[in-house]
Symmetry: C2
Subunit: 273 residues, 2 copies
């Protein structure tokens, strides 16, 4: 199986893409809904929480874990990678590669949580690809609460105003490509696109699914349906675990998955890990 | 000493008032900055976190603990009160009493986190005072992130729009008094007042300090400065504990306290309690 985790529900935007790319894989998703958000916390706390999250997923003996959280991917990857013997894939690398491919004028914008932008992880990765890129980063700490509280309508006036507030710098910088460095942001992508017309948006969650596929392919560990008793349309199993109550997760999950949620939801006391 | 806790920094608005009313008391403040916010979590999780918070403060043998968190005060008071042998004072009662005294037309509004409004605790308490009151409650889940991310200028356009979004119902209901049922909200009181002119605003944190004073007076446990070697202007000692890093707390605390922070800040691993 493949483990996936996020501070909350945003990582489900990566699950959506994994199921499209890797339909035969069994998946276990953990959302730390009892401690969300991570993006406003200190590096030390983010590392502690992320290590607990992966220790929980390790119980399922995953062949890989996708860190579907922009904050953990940019802040704590080195620290948690050392603790485990299975591959950990974050969202930074895939999104940076996709942005590097898409940009024409070499001007790339990055938006994320405060912790993600403070880390400078996207700039570092993009500069490794080409030192010529001109990169503008901007923390957008209101975007996660806006998404989580349902202000996701394309013409929502508060979200429009928040986009204007945060994204004006990126427009002024002339970016032609923008990395959505937090897995919550695809839910307000249309409002972001209205604020930055003609800018190519890169979903870090979706791109990380592609990196996961590459990694498993390299390792020769991709699941296929040859052992399955079901038809070629048969999906692998999926289970969800959360650290707060099950009901509110179930109510919101379909919004992120873009489809009805299948699979069962369980509660876990993550502080024990 | 007196213990005070909140999910984060909002409870400092109560500390400010306690120091004015009870200058000779020693205070220990705990802010659960590693798990803030509480107001969007389930009742079960709020009870669990609040019990840990009070268990930590119990180590200091407090004569009373002020629950300076609107969410815990409205959602978990009965459950946590049973666990401890010192008095626990929440913010609901004092604010409800103050609103009952202030209102002329009997139409009272209440704003708070999702959990606070879901609890109906303010309506219950106000109805106990008078069944004639007409009460309008409204959850304002964006207010805490707006305050925590610094959108506190009186003419901040995003906060103005959020106020209009949340408070239009209260204006339509003709409320002449509004309870700020979350200890973060005094920081945007001026913007709220612009949206609801001529409405009397009640700060639940400040009113709870008055209830605390009443309680200690009844118990004959008020500190005075008779044993103190310092002048009559001498304050009791204050210590701060937080569950995330110390630096970000120190940077923001003066905003809530309305003065420079005195006293030391320490970090505590609250999950162990």
């Amino acid at each position: 199986m493949i483990g996936i985790f996020d501070s909350g529900l945003g990582g489900l935007t990566a699950v959506k893409e994994i199921r499209r790319l890797l339909p035969y894989e069994d998946l276990v998703y953990f959302g730390d809904t009892g401690r969300v958000p991570y993006g406003t916390r200190s590096k030390e706390t983010i590392i502690k929480y992320a290590a607990q999250d992966v220790r929980f997923l390790a119980e399922f003996s995953p062949k890989a874990v996708l860190v579907a959280c922009g904050t953990v991917s940019s802040t704590a990857m080195e620290e948690i990678r050392d603790l485990f013997d299975f591959p950990l894939i974050g969202v930074v690398e895939g999104a940076a590669e996709a942005a590097a491919k898409q940009t024409v004028n070499g001007k790339i914008g990055v938006i994320g949580t405060s912790a993600t932008i403070k880390s400078g992880a996207y700039t570092k990765k993009l500069k490794e690809i080409s030192s010529q890129f001109v990169i503008t980063e901007r923390a957008c700490p209101l975007f996660v609460p806006l998404v989580e509280n349902g202000f996701v309508g394309v013409d929502d006036s508060i979200t429009r105003l928040a986009c204007e507030h945060y994204l004006a710098d990126l427009r002024a910088a002339g970016c032609d490509t923008l990395i959505l460095g937090c897995t919550h942001y695809p839910l307000i992508a249309k409002t972001i696109a209205k604020t930055l017309p003609d800018v190519k948006l890169i979903s870090s969650g979706a791109e990380s699914a592609r990196k996961l596929q590459e990694k498993l392919s390299t390792l020769g560990k991709l699941a296929d349906n040859s052992n399955s008793s079901c038809s070629s349309n048969c999906y692998g199993k999926i289970s969800y675990y959360v650290s707060d109550d099950i009901e509110s997760f179930s109510q919101s999950a379909s919004l992120y998955l873009g489809a009805d949620m299948d699979g069962k939801v369980h509660r876990v006391d993550i502080e024990k890990y």
